[in-house]
Symmetry: C2
Subunit: 206 residues, 2 copies
DNA sequence: CCCTTTCGATACACGGACGTATTGAGTACG
DNA sequence: CGTACTCAATACGTCCGTGTATCGAAAGGG
């Protein structure tokens, strides 16, 4: 059924995979997932289609692999940002937001890709499960850190899951707005405000 | 330059256009915009590609036309829901949310399409302007109604624009979650809660 | 009632993307 | 050092979608 992942991955293959995955993001971002072709990705990565098909069964498979790689990277990035927060003492909610938010990048290219992935996943039950699982993993990885940080800010969280969902929604919803009007600082400011309001509403002073 | 829109639209053509636009939504929803073809749309609408090309210059053009039609329809639908609210007296914030929210449908197909439209628009400056303009129109149409309703609930809005942006973000962000887990009533409940919290945070008692 | 105009169907030529089967080069391993 | 294997390149046949140009039929105007 599910093959145990080979733990001895040949040097050559690993490199090719990596390059293809790397090349895929910009292609998807520029062309849109639906309009992207295997050839475009191979061209950008400096390979031929032969290389592609010996690494992935289909564009969908690469798409999924890329998604998983990126979200894992995102988790570690945010975790790092949290860790870097350690020295600060007794921040308030706004300070937490102002400090942590830059660590969650609003990346134009990545946003476009994940928007399309979302649409794609809504269409495909298998992918949908993968995606919700991934989101849960992100929440589970980040919420404990969030709890601790907020505790330091003197706030307790009655329902961490609800806060998690609210934060994800806030992130998703405001990201679009910021990307649509990237040069309008007000929009970015309101994004931070919304985070503050949401966190405040879902926590209480201890 | 810009041709003045012919105000005498032939019977036949108007019908064909309508049918094509109608057929386009399900095709985009099922296949994804990028993977949709002119032929699929024509087939579903019961026409040949000839009909398509004598009504639209490209798929993009149809896409945009469809988007404008749908968002206009959405505005009138919500406005109707607001109007139907008149009889209620002195609601609280939660009552407003519980009552108005069902009027803003979380439509699976439409959501997928607009997610892809968003991604597409982020890639195309022209479309981006169209989209922000459309969003502003929606906000402008709905906020006055919102203001009035909340006034009846005894709440004033210091910064209506900020509230508008926050509500749009809330809508966008929570819609995904609901569509991803359509059978989880908790997610829907938390969506309503978030609306309540946001509105409460952005208004004050009079 | 005819004549003009408009619209949608058909036919055509073209390009491009797909997936596979085969080949040759590079790599690991005995 | 040589053999066996792995992986990427090439070549191939195929299918599908595009956009245009042409033609026939309906609608509308005088």
């Amino acid at each position: 059924m599910i093959e145990p992942t080979a733990d001895r991955v040949p040097r050559r293959r690993a490199e090719t995979r990596r390059r293809l995955l790397e090349a895929a993001l910009p292609v998807f971002a520029e062309e849109g997932f639906g309009r992207s072709t295997v050839e475009q990705i191979c061209e950008r990565a400096g390979y031929t289609r032969g290389a592609f098909y010996s690494n992935f069964a289909s564009l969908d498979e690469l798409f999924l692999a890329m998604w998983e790689g990126r979200s894992a990277a995102m988790i570690t990035a945010v975790r790092a940002a949290f860790d870097a927060f350690t020295p600060v003492e007794l921040p308030d909610v706004r300070a937490v937001v102002e400090r942590v938010l830059p660590a969650i990048p609003v990346d134009d290219a990545w946003f476009r890709v994940s928007a399309e992935f979302t649409a794609h996943a809504l269409r495909n039950p298998g992918l949908r499960r993968v995606m919700t699982a991934r989101e849960e993993a992100i929440a589970e990885a980040l919420m404990p850190l969030m709890v601790e940080l907020l505790a330091r800010a003197g706030r307790s969280i009655p329902d961490p899951v609800a806060l998690g969902q609210a934060l994800v929604a806030t992130h998703d919803g405001t990201s679009v707005q910021c990307l649509m009007a990237p040069d309008n600082p007000l929009v970015w400011q309101r994004r931070r405000d919304l985070y503050v309001q949401v966190i405040t509403a879902y926590t209480e002073e201890t």
